[in-house]
Symmetry: C2
Subunit: 469 residues, 2 copies
C-alpha cells in the first residue's frame, strides 16, 4: 500500500487555523472520493515535514478526522481512510455511469439506508418528557442534586423490576438491579465482578461492540457457530468458556429467536459447573410481531446463572443513557465486594424523570405506539419482500427491527451490496458481522427498517427489486 | 444470633403506606438503639407472615433501610443492623451517664459533623439551572436525544478547555478532553488506556476510593510517604511504580499544597523513563484562601506525562455526574485504539445544560459566591482555632475545604475523636485515611467545614474547646 501525497495549499493568512485547513482538505478529499476506503495516509511526521508545520498540528487534524469517523488509526500501521457510509464514495479507477458524483446521487444514497441500528424518534413524546422534567425541577431540592446510591435510586430499581417482571418475566428484587450509564459501562462493571481471564463464548455472527469490550478487558473469546435455533450448545461444550454472551429474544444480527428447548440446553450447560454464567443481552425484546412473546432466558433460570442486561436507549431514546443489569445473587455478592463503591453514573434527576415516565404510564403508551408503527413498517416490508421470495429466503422476521435475506442464486454479498448501493440503497452484509471467515455459506443481507418511513421503505424496495431481481 | 421479633402495630387506615410504617418503625428502633449493630432481623418472608402483609411490602421496607445504610444485606445470611455513625447509638448493657439516650443528645451528635467530604449546596442557583434546562428543552430536537460523541460534545469539551486554561493553567486541546459520568468511571477508562499490571504509587494517606478502584483493576499499589512538601520523590524512586497518583493542589486528606520545586522533581521523575505518567486529581482546586493560586501540575508538564482529572461534582453539585480527564497525546492515541468506541456515559442534554451554565457566566459567578462563603467559614474556623494553638498544630489551611489539627499533648486520635463525639461533635481521624500503619506519629484530626453554617462552626468549636482544652 503506497502512501498518498497530500497536496494542500496552506494559507497562513487565512482566519482558519492550519490544523483546520489540513482537516478540511482531507475531509473533503474523502467526501469527494479522491481518497478511497482503506487507503493509507502519510504518517503525521512525514506530512508535517512536507507541509512545514508542527507535528502537533497534523496530529490534531488526524485526531479530529479519526473522531469524526473519516480516518481510522491502526496500531503500528498508521492512518487509513474509513468506509464512509451513505456518502456513495466513488472509486475513480472504476468507471460507471451510475456512480458519477453528484449531490443528487449522494442524497439518494443517504435516503434509503436500511440500517439495523437506527430507530424512529419521530413519535417520541418530547412534550411529555419536557413536562415531567419541568415538574421535577419545580420540586427539585438539594436532595435531588445530591449523589444517589451506587446501584441507582431504589424507586427506579423497583420500577424496573416491576416492568421487567411484567414485560419479560424476569424474576428479581430491586437489590439485584444495577442502573448504569449505558450497556458499555455495565459490561465494564461486569468485568470487575466476574474477574480477570474469564473465557467468553459468543455467537457468530454477533454484536461487534460487545466483542470489542471483551477484547479491551483482555478476555479470551471463542466464537461458537449457530444453527437455525441459535447458538450450538454442543459446540459450546467443546470450548473452555465460562461465560456465554447471548441474545435469545432476537439475535443480532441473525434475527434468530431461540426456542425454549435450546434455552433449556443452554441453562443446563450453565448449571453444570460452578461459576458458569450466561449474559443475556435483551436489546430489542420490546418489539415482537409474530407468535406469543417468549419471556427472557432469565425467566427460566432456576439456578442464578443468568446476568440480564437491557437498555432504555433503544426503546426510548439513545440520549437516555440509562441501562440496567440484573445480577444473580452469587454475582451480587461479588459486586458488593469488588465494585459496590463505584459511584452511580446516572444523575438522580435523570433517574427521577425516567421513573415518572414509566410510572405514569407514558412508557407503556409510547411502546404501544411504537409497536404499532414498527409492526406497520414490518408488515409493509414483508409484503414488499414477497416478490423477492424466489431469489431470497426471508428470516428473522418474527421479532425485532430488522430481517435477513439469504440469496438463493449464488451471488456474493459484495455484489448484492454493491448493486444495491448503485441503486441508492444501503443494505448490510452479514460478513461484516461474522467473526470467523466462513467459506461457502450463501450471501446474507441485513435490512433494518425502523428509521425509514413507509414511503421510504416502498421506494427503497422498488429500487432493490430493480437492482436484484 | 437469634432473630428479633419486630412488634409493629400496623395501621391500615393511616395515610402512610404499610411499607412506610415498617420502614419507619425499624429505622426508629435502630436510631433509638433498641436494635443494635450486627443484630439480625427476621427474614422478609417471616416478617411478612407475622405482619400478614405481602412479601413485597417487607422487601421494599428492607430495601429502603439498606439503601439508607441502616441495614446491611449479607448474602445467604439475611439482614443485619449496621453501625450508624453520628447517631450516638447506645449499648444498653454498658452504663454511662454521658451516653443516656435523649432526643437532645442525638440531635447534638448529628448537628456538628465536620465532614471533609460534604459541600454546601445552600447557594446553588437551582432557579438558574432550572431555567437553562427549560430553555434547552424548548429547543430540544431529536438531535439532542441522539447519542453524542464518545468523548463528549465538542462544544462542552471546548468550554472545559477554555475554563481549565484560565483557571488552572492547563494546556490542552478539546480533542484531549474525555467527558465521563464521574471520576470513578474515568479511572475505569484510564485502566483500559494504561493497560494491565500497571504499578501505581500513591501518597500515604490518600483518597481511599481511588485506591479501591486501582485494587479493583488489580494494579499493584505502593504507598509513598509524604513530608511537608508532599510525596517524597526520593522514596518514589525506590519503587517500581510506573504511574503516580497525586493531588498537588490540596492533598486529600493532609491539605498539603505541593510547592513548585517538588512538582518539578515529580515531573522529572516522570520524564526520565518511557511510559511513566502522573495522574493529577485536582479535586477541590477551585478553593484557595491564602497566597497566589498555584496552577495545575499539568501546566508545568512539557513532556506529556500528566493525566489531569477534575470534576464538576464538587464545584457545582454531586448530582451533576460530569467529570473530565485531559489525556497527553501518547495516551490519547492509546485511548482511541483501546476504548474510543465506548459510548459516552453523559447524556447530550446534561452536557448542553452544563455548557450553557459555564458559557453564560453562571459557573464563574457561583464559584465566586462559594469562594466568599467558604472563605468566611474558613476564616471563622481559623479564628476559633486560635485558642487551640497550644494544644494543636494547625495545617493545610491555605486551600481546600478542610484543615488538619496535630495534637501536641500526646493524646491518641481515638481518645480525641471519642471525647469530641461525646460532646456531640464528629471529627475525622487521620488513621482512617492512612494506608500503612505508622506507629509513633502524633494524633491528627481532620475538620471539614464546607457544609456547616457559621453558627454551627461556632457552636461545634465551643464544644470541642470544652472537650479537648
Amino acid at each position: 500500500m503506497k502512501e498518498l501525497p497530500i497536496h494542500i495549499q496552506l494559507q497562513p493568512e487565512s482566519d482558519r487555523t492550519l490544523y483546520e485547513q489540513i482537516y478540511e482538505y482531507i475531509r473533503d478529499e474523502i467526501r469527494q472520493g479522491s481518497l478511497l476506503q482503506d487507503e493509507k495516509l502519510p504518517s503525521a511526521r512525514l506530512l508535517a515535514e512536507d507541509l512545514q508545520v508542527s507535528r502537533t498540528t497534523v496530529d490534531m487534524a488526524y485526531g479530529q478526522l479519526v473522531s469524526e469517523g473519516y480516518l481510522e488509526a491502526r496500531p503500528r500501521q498508521g492512518y487509513f481512510v474509513c468506509a464512509v457510509e451513505g456518502l456513495c464514495v466513488i472509486d475513480p479507477f472504476q468507471k460507471s455511469d451510475k456512480r458519477t458524483v453528484s449531490k443528487q446521487s449522494r442524497q439518494t444514497a443517504e435516503q434509503y439506508d436500511f440500517s439495523p441500528n437506527a430507530i424512529d424518534m419521530h413519535f417520541f413524546p418530547y412534550a411529555t418528557w419536557k413536562k415531567i422534567t419541568k415538574s421535577i425541577l419545580v420540586d427539585a431540592n438539594s436532595d435531588m442534586f445530591s449523589l444517589g446510591e451506587p446501584q441507582g435510586d431504589l424507586s427506579l430499581r423497583t420500577t424496573i423490576c416491576r416492568y421487567l417482571h411484567g414485560a419479560r418475566g424476569v424474576n428479581c428484587e430491586p437489590e439485584q438491579v444495577i442502573v448504569g450509564a449505558g450497556n458499555d459501562y455495565l459490561l465494564l462493571l461486569l468485568e470487575k465482578i466476574l474477574g480477570r481471564h474469564v473465557h467468553v463464548a459468543m455467537e457468530d455472527p454477533t454484536y461487534a461492540k460487545a466483542y470489542r469490550i471483551f477484547q479491551s478487558c483482555a478476555y479470551p473469546v471463542t466464537f461458537v457457530p449457530m444453527d437455525e435455533n441459535g447458538i450450538s450448545v454442543e459446540c459450546l461444550r467443546h470450548t473452555d468458556a465460562q461465560v456465554a454472551y447471548v441474545m435469545p429474544a432476537h439475535q443480532y444480527p441473525t434475527g434468530i429467536s431461540m426456542p425454549i428447548g435450546r434455552r433449556m440446553e443452554l441453562l443446563k450447560w450453565a448449571a453444570e459447573q460452578e461459576g458458569r454464567y450466561l449474559i443475556e443481552d435483551d436489546y430489542d425484546s420490546e418489539f415482537r410481531f409474530k407468535g406469543k412473546p417468549l419471556p427472557s432466558l432469565q425467566a427460566s433460570d432456576r439456578n442464578g446463572n443468568v446476568v440480564y442486561i437491557g437498555t432504555f436507549s433503544k426503546a426510548i431514546a439513545p440520549a437516555i443513557r440509562i441501562s440496567y443489569m440484573v445480577l444473580p445473587y452469587p454475582l451480587l455478592t461479588r459486586y458488593r465486594e469488588a465494585c459496590g463503591f463505584y459511584s452511580s453514573t446516572v444523575s438522580r434527576i435523570d433517574q427521577t424523570i425516567l421513573n415518572e415516565f414509566i410510572q405514569d404510564g407514558y412508557f407503556e403508551r409510547y411502546l404501544n405506539k411504537m409497536r404499532k408503527q414498527y409492526r406497520m413498517k414490518h408488515d409493509l416490508l414483508l409484503t414488499e419482500l414477497r416478490a423477492f421470495r424466489k431469489a431470497f429466503r426471508i428470516s428473522g422476521s418474527n421479532a425485532g427491527l430488522h430481517v435477513i435475506l439469504t440469496d438463493r442464486m449464488g451471488r456474493s454479498e459484495e455484489e448484492l451490496a454493491r448493486t444495491a448501493q448503485e441503486a441508492g440503497v444501503k443494505v448490510y452484509r452479514m460478513r461484516d458481522f461474522r467473526m470467523k471467515e466462513s467459506g461457502g455459506t450463501a450471501a446474507m443481507l441485513i435490512l433494518g427498517y425502523a428509521a425509514l418511513s413507509p414511503e421510504e421503505i416502498g421506494k427503497g424496495m422498488a429500487l432493490l427489486r430493480e437492482a436484484w431481481l
